[in-house]
Symmetry: C2
Subunit: 152 residues, 2 copies
Amino acid sequence: MADSSISIAARSDSATKTRVSVRDFEFIVDQPENFGGENDGPTPVEYFLGAWAACMSGTCKLVAAEHEIDIQALSFDVASDIDTAKLMGQESTNRCGLQGIEAEIEIDCDADEKAIKAMIDETVTRCPVTDNVTNETPLNWSVSLPAHSTPD
Amino acid sequence: MADSSISIAARSDSATKTRVSVRDFEFIVDQPENFGGENDGPTPVEYFLGAWAACMSGTCKLVAAEHEIDIQALSFDVASDIDTAKLMGQESTNRCGLQGIEAEIEIDCDADEKAIKAMIDETVTRCPVTDNVTNETPLNWSVSLPAHSTPD
């Protein structure tokens, strides 16, 4: 059914730092010093929001080409709140993840407001990461232990 | 209610390339050449999966410390399938996003299998990005146009 398979590997380098390998690329995820990290890279939720904005950006360019809209400039200001209580093991009525995504999309193009709205509406329905953000995505995991640490 | 606000900015550089700015960091999101890009960085869905693995990694280290489990090594092999039909504007019975996340978590630590499973189960419930991946996250967007392109 699927036409593409994606795989990444991630290795924990410290309590806060993770090294992610993707094809020939590598990127570092860390926490700022006030969250106990060394600030060697963006945090997981920052990459998450960046992945969303970049997916919207590329999908919007694709839809614009189909709609024969010439985009001169396209940018996203994205904000999100998080309550870290549950992450830190405390009680909270808030979810542990980002509470929502608020985005201001700035577009400079040759279309009128109605055509722009139709283009963004279609972008939202066709953008892969938007689908994963706004809907549930199944997660399956298994644990493997190195031979020497396999419990008796 | 929230104790932390996160913001990022993203600017489209080409049909496939997006430059994401986060605090003092910048990262490039692109597509490989066979998807029309210049392969100047990982794709949005690759960053998305990396963000998830890194969030799990950091949360697992936090939970391990509370459980007094000493982790020697922790890594993630993550795979996901996607059907790009809807993204490309074609009909499909598949969703347009990643169909699911399959992760193999490799842990070298001093705990037995039961304690490791309890640690990972707790990690999954406290990991922010896991919450956003496995549950719905509200998305609100607005469009702003530069003054000279505001429709009459």
